[in-house]
Symmetry: C2
Subunit: 189 residues, 2 copies
């Protein structure tokens, strides 16, 4: 499920449906990894539900309540949070279909504010970017991301910058996006 602004934020690509398919895929890989972390008693990290404004609900007799009118809301926080080794973890995950760069417009300013705030209170915060064309997932510490973002010199992160400053996330069958391995290393947990 994409937010309506998912459409705005996607970089140009030949197939119009590809963003949403790939969007599901990183989300799915993170969800599968989170389920494995949960089952293995390693961490409790969940994706937050998609925020919607509910306008109309029907209550048919003997059936489940049906929401018949609702709209997507702009998220005021990131999509994922939870606890790992006693630490509060907070992150956003984004697919990127471009060969050359990840546009800052993919992340809502509210989400960047939120990351700044949780860092101030002691969180481990980061962004996961999937560079779909290269089939690579990178973890970028939110401090590094925000520092570059706040310079306001560029409107995107180049692929070079991502490779140099991000951390390539490994995957396996049980954890198709094994980001906690990187968290252990870079935050020395």
């Amino acid at each position: 499920m994409n937010y309506p602004n998912g459409k705005k934020t996607t970089v140009k690509h030949d197939k119009t449906t590809s963003y949403s398919r790939r969007g599901m895929s990183l989300e799915n890989d993170i969800n599968v990894s989170n389920e494995n972390y949960l089952k293995s008693d390693i961490a409790v990290i969940h994706k937050k539900p998609t925020p919607v404004t509910i306008v109309k609900v029907d209550y048919p007799k003997r059936e489940a309540a049906k929401i018949s009118e609702a709209y997507f809301k702009v998220p005021s926080t990131t999509d994922y949070n939870g606890i790992y080794k006693g630490k509060y973890i907070d992150f956003e995950a984004k697919e990127c279909a471009s060969k050359t760069s990840f546009p800052f417009s993919s992340i809502h300013p509210h989400q960047i504010d939120h990351l700044e705030k949780v860092i101030k209170h002691g969180a481990i915060a980061f962004i996961i970017i999937r560079m779909s064309i290269y089939d690579e997932d990178y973890l970028i510490d939110a401090n590094d991301f925000i520092a570059f973002y706040n310079e306001k010199k560029r409107k995107s992160l180049s692929y070079e910058w991502i490779k140099n400053n991000g951390h390539l996330i490994s995957r396996d069958y049980l954890r198709p996006c094994d980001y906690l391995k990187i968290v252990d290393r870079i935050y020395e947990l």
Copy 2:
């Protein structure tokens, strides 16, 4: 907004609409308090969006995407989490319209599992119960709640138990449910 199971879990009361009005009110008081904590740079704690399964979305031209069919999902986590003084905070909040007791059926077993898991990983976890008739809000440490729940001797917490084991939450205009004051005291933060 109530989950459909909110209806099942409400204790009997003369006005059928009262649960949802009061439900909004504790939620609203916590949201207002959380906004104040956020503005005052004290904590970053948010209510998670209501989980829904989206079945059908219409994309009218020049208008916002409209969700035309969706259903409430059973929540797999609690409603609130965030970070305070470097600690991961996790809690559920419930209104109770009964004079005598808070029924365990008000809290979904998944949510109790979730509280047990986050405690194991080092969270500060609790339940806020509003005893509407007495106009009192209590914070109950999740360990105390779960220990009593797991004894399985009773199907509810008596008002006496809540008064003896819970911590009465104070309120003021800016923080109509100032639960972090209790958190400071009982978790010695």
